[in-house]
C-alpha cells in the first residue's frame, strides 16, 4: 500500500495541475503543432516536474500526459481508443521516454539534495567539534552544539536536560523556540527522562515503538528524547521539538546522534573538572587536618593538663586546702576552659570557612554597630586600653555584621595580646572603600613572619614555646572572612612604631539606600 508522506499529496496535485494546464494551452492553440512537437513539450514538462517535485510525481505526470495526449491530440479525439497503429507506437515511445527521462532527472535531483544534506551534516559536525573544543564553559559549549542541531534535524527547539542529585530536572542549555520545549516539572516529562536515562535508549526517536511505549503519555507530540552517552554512562538527555515531523530518516538520525555525542563529551568533561576540583579540595582539607592534629597534640594538651592537675589537686584527701587556694585553683580551671572553648570555636570557624560554607550575609550596616559588637565581650580592663575613633561622616558599610564584628574582635584581641600599651580602633572611608583598622604600639612584625602571618597555625610553628596563649588561627579566619566579603586584610608598619591591621571593604555597588 502506498502511503503518502506529508506534502506528497500536494506534489501529486501540482504535477497533475501542470500537465492539465499545458493540455488546455495546447488545445487552445489548436492543431498548429505536430504530434511530434506536442510530445517534446510534454517531455519538457515531465522533466520540470521531476526536477521540482521528485520521482513519483514525475511518474504520475508521465502517465497523465500519455492519457491526455491520447484524449486530446490522437484520433479519435475524446476517446481512449487509437485509430492509427503507428500512433500507438508513438504514444508508447513517448510514455517510456517520459518515464525514463523523468526518473533520471529525479535521481539527479535526489543525489544533489543528498550531497547538500551531507555537506550540511559535515559542516554542522565540524562546527560542533570546534565549539566543544574551543568553548571551556559547559553551558555555552552545549548551546553551541544545540545551535548546530536545529538546521540539520528540522527541530524548532532543542534542550539538554540533566537529572540533579535530588531528582529534579534542569535544562543546562536550550536553543530555538523555548515555548516548544516541555515543562520540566511535569510528571510525564520526569517519566520519559527517567526511562531514557535508565535504559540509555531514545524515546520517539527511532521507529521502534517498543521502547517508547514504556514512557506512555508523552506530554506533547513532536518531542524526541535521546540519551547523551559518554563511556557507556548516560549523562543527560537531549530533547528535540520537531512538531509535525515523524521519526527521522537514517541520515538525520546519524547526524543528530553524532551531535548528541558531542554534547555527551561536554557533560563528561564537566564531570571530570568537578571531580578534579573536589580532589584538590580534599587534599587541602587533608593538609589542614594534619596541621590541626599536630596543633591539638600541642596546644590542647597544655590547658587540659592544667585542668587535670587543678581538679585532681582539689580532690586529694589529706590536709584540707584553705579557701583562697581552692578559689585560685577553681579560677585556673575556669580560665583554661575558656581558652579551650576559644580554640574550639576558632577551629570550627576555620573549617566552615575552608568548606566555603560560611557565606557572608551582607547587608548595609552602621559601622558603629560593627565596632560596638567587636568591643562587646572584652573585659573591662581590656576595654580601657582601646581608643575608638570613628569618622563622623561614615556611611553604611555593606558587610555581614556578625562576621565583620568577629574580624574586628579577633584583630583587637590580637593587638591586646601581643602588646601592652593602648591600641586604636578606627574607621574611615575614601572613594573606593571603607577602612577599619586596629593599630598598636607594639614591637612591630618580625620580618620573617610577614609573608605567612595569615596562614593557619603559623603561631603554632613560630611561637609554640612562647608564654602567650592562643592558637594562631585568628588571623587566618579574619583574612578568610574579609576575602569572602571581597575586601582585603593587610598588616602594615605603623607610623611612629607598631603595627596597623587594616581591613578594606569595597563600597556596595548600586543601591546604597
Amino acid at each position: 500500500m502506498l502511503r503518502l508522506a506529508p506534502g506528497e499529496g500536494r506534489a501529486y496535485g501540482l504535477a497533475g495541475a501542470t500537465v492539465a494546464a499545458l493540455t488546455l494551452l495546447l488545445v487552445a492553440l489548436g492543431p498548429r503543432l505536430s504530434l511530434g512537437s506536442t510530445f517534446m513539450v510534454y517531455v519538457l514538462v515531465v522533466i520540470g516536474v521531476a526536477l521540482r517535485l521528485g520521482s513519483r510525481p514525475a511518474v504520475a505526470a508521465a502517465v497523465a500526459a500519455s492519457l491526455l495526449i491520447d484524449l486530446c491530440f490522437v484520433e479519435p479525439r475524446g476517446r481512449l481508443t487509437i485509430a492509427d497503429p503507428s500512433e500507438w507506437l508513438a504514444l508508447l515511445t513517448f510514455l517510456v521516454t517520459a518515464l525514463v527521462v523523468g526518473q533520471l532527472t529525479a535521481s539527479l535531483r535526489a543525489q544533489a539534495a543528498a550531497a547538500e544534506q551531507r555537506e550540511r551534516e559535515t559542516s554542522a559536525l565540524a562546527e560542533a567539534s570546534w565549539s566543544v573544543a574551543s568553548q571551556v564553559d559547559r553551558d555555552r559549549a552545549l548551546a553551541a552544539v544545540l545551535e548546530r542541531l536545529a538546521p540539520v534535524s528540522g527541530a524548532v527547539a532543542a534542550a539538554v536536560i540533566v537529572r540533579e542529585r535530588d531528582g529534579a530536572l534542569t535544562a543546562l542549555a536550550a536553543a530555538g523556540d523555548r515555548g516548544a520545549l516541555p515543562d520540566l516539572t511535569l510528571d510525564t516529562v520526569h517519566r520519559v527522562v527517567n526511562v531514557v536515562i535508565n535504559d540509555g535508549l531514545g524515546v520517539a526517536w527511532t521507529l521502534d515503538r517498543r521502547h517508547w511505549d514504556k514512557a506512555l503519555e508523552l506530554p506533547s507530540a513532536g518531542l524526541s528524547w535521546l540519551p547523551l552517552i559518554n563511556e557507556s554512562r548516560v549523562l543527560g538527555v537531549l530533547c528535540l521539538a520537531r512538531p509535525g515531523a515523524g521519526p527521522p530518516d537514517e541520515p538525520v538520525r546519524r547526524v543528530v546522534e553524532s551531535l548528541a555525542n558531542h554534547a555527551g563529551v561536554v557533560l563528561a568533561r564537566e564531570n571530570l573538572a568537578r571531580l578534579e576540583a573536589e580532589t584538590r579540595a580534599l587534599a587541602e582539607v587533608d593538609r589542614l587536618k594534619t596541621a590541626l592534629l599536630s596543633m591539638v597534640s600541642h596546644d590542647f594538651r597544655s590547658p587540659l593538663a592544667a585542668i587535670k592537675a587543678s581538679a585532681t589537686g582539689l580532690m586529694q584527701d589529706g590536709e584540707p586546702l584553705d579557701s583562697p587556694t581552692v578559689r585560685e585553683m577553681l579560677a585556673g580551671i575556669n580560665s583554661e576552659v575558656d581558652r579551650l572553648n576559644r580554640m574550639v570555636e576558632n577551629i570550627l570557624a576555620l573549617s566552615r570557612l575552608e568548606a566555603g560554607a560560611w557565606q557572608p550575609r551582607v547587608e548595609p550596616t552602621p559601622v558603629a554597630e560593627v565596632v560596638g559588637a567587636a568591643l562587646e565581650g572584652l573585659s573591662k580592663a581590656d576595654n580601657a586600653r582601646v581608643a575608638v575613633r570613628l569618622a563622623p561622616d561614615l556611611d553604611l558599610v555593606a558587610c555581614d555584621p556578625v562576621q565583620m564584628a568577629q574580624v574586628l574582635h579577633n584583630l583587637i584581641e590580637n593587638a591586646l595580646k601581643y602588646t601592652s600599651g593602648e591600641i586604636e580602633v578606627a574607621a574611615e572611608a575614601d572613594e573606593s572603600a571603607v577602612r577599619l583598622s586596629v593599630a598598636d604600639r607594639g614591637p612591630g612584625l618580625p620580618p620573617e613572619l610577614s609573608g605567612e602571618m595569615f596562614e593557619p597555625f603559623v603561631r603554632a610553628r613560630h611561637l609554640r614555646e612562647s608564654a602567650v596563649p592562643g592558637v594562631g588561627l585568628g588571623l587566618t579566619i579574619c583574612r578568610g572572612l574579609v576575602e569572602a566579603h571581597g575586601g582585603t586584610l593587610s598588616a602594615l608598619p605603623r607610623h611612629g612604631g607598631g603595627t596597623v591591621f587594616e581591613v578594606r571593604l569595597p563600597h556596595a555597588t548600586g543601591d546604597r539606600s
Binding site: N334, V337, N341, E345, L348, E363, P364, T365, P366, A368, E369, V371, G372, A373, L375, E376, N383, V388, L390, L396, P401, V402, A405
Partner: protein, 227 residues
C-alpha cells in the same frame, strides 16, 4: 523557686542541680523532651531550663508544647552553631537563651531577669521607667537623660519602650520588627539596624560602646538597664 532542668547530659544536670540548690532553689531533672513534659505536668515548676539538642522531642518541640498552655519562664541552652534553632525557640516563646559553655553566674542573672519580667508583666505597664540615667515617660512620650530631654522619633520611642519593658531579656529581630512596625515587616532587619543605630546615637554616651542597647549577634538586641 522550683526549677525544671531538661538536658540529656548527666554532667550538666548534676552541675546545675548542685549550683542551683546552693542558691536555695529546688531542682527537678529530666533527661529528654518527653520526660521534660511529664516532669512539668507532675511538678509544676516556676522556671524551665531547656537544652535545645535532645533525643526524643527536642527543646524547640518542648518549647512549643509548653507555650500551648503555660506562661512559665523558659531559658534555652544551645551550642554556638545552632543560631536558627535559638531564634526559632525565642520566637516560639522561650524567654532567653544561654550559649554553652556558660557559667552559673550567667544562668542566675538570666533567671533573675526573666522572673522579674514575668512579675512586671503581671502588673500594669508603669507610667514612668527609670533605667540608669534615662527616664522613660510612657504617658507623655518623653525620654530624658540626666534631666535633659532627648528628641526621639515615634519609631525610636516605640523601639526603646519595647526594649525597656523587656529589659535584661533578649528580643529577637522578628519580635521587635513585628511589634514596632507590624507583622509584614518582620524580615526587614536592615531597617531595624539603622533605627537602632540612630537610637544608640541619641541615648548612649559612647555609641560604639553601648551600655544599654546591646547587640546579640544574629539574634536580636538586649536592653541592659545598669552595670
Amino acid at each position: 523557686m522550683k526549677i525544671l532542668v531538661v538536658d540529656d547530659e548527666t554532667q550538666i544536670r548534676r552541675a546545675l542541680r548542685v549550683g542551683l540548690e546552693r542558691h536555695g532553689h529546688v531542682v527537678v531533672e529530666a533527661a529528654d523532651g518527653e520526660a521534660g513534659l511529664d516532669a512539668f505536668a507532675e511538678h509544676s515548676p516556676e522556671l524551665v531550663v531547656l537544652d535545645l539538642a535532645m533525643p526524643r522531642l527536642d527543646g524547640l518541640g518542648v518549647c512549643r508544647e509548653l507555650r500551648g498552655w503555660s506562661a512559665v519562664p523558659i531559658i534555652v541552652l544551645s551550642v554556638r552553631d545552632d543560631e536558627r534553632d535559638k531564634i526559632a525557640a525565642l520566637d516560639a516563646g522561650a524567654d532567653d537563651y544561654l550559649t554553652k559553655p556558660f557559667s552559673l553566674d550567667e544562668l542566675l542573672a538570666r533567671m533573675r531577669a526573666v522572673v522579674r519580667r514575668v512579675e512586671l508583666g503581671r502588673a500594669d505597664e508603669p507610667a514612668v521607667l527609670n533605667v540608669g540615667d534615662l527616664t522613660l515617660d510612657f504617658a507623655r512620650h518623653r525620654v530624658t537623660r540626666a534631666g535633659e530631654e532627648l528628641h526621639l522619633t515615634p519609631i525610636e520611642f516605640d523601639l526603646l519602650r519595647y526594649l525597656a519593658l523587656h529589659a535584661e531579656r533578649v528580643v529577637t529581630h522578628r519580635q521587635l520588627l513585628s511589634k514596632v512596625w507590624g507583622e509584614e515587616w518582620a524580615e526587614d532587619t536592615h531597617t531595624l539596624r539603622v533605627h537602632i543605630s540612630n537610637l544608640r546615637n541619641k541615648i548612649e554616651h559612647d555609641p560604639a560602646r553601648p551600655r544599654h542597647l546591646r547587640t546579640e549577634p544574629r539574634v536580636g538586641y538586649r536592653f541592659v538597664s545598669g552595670e
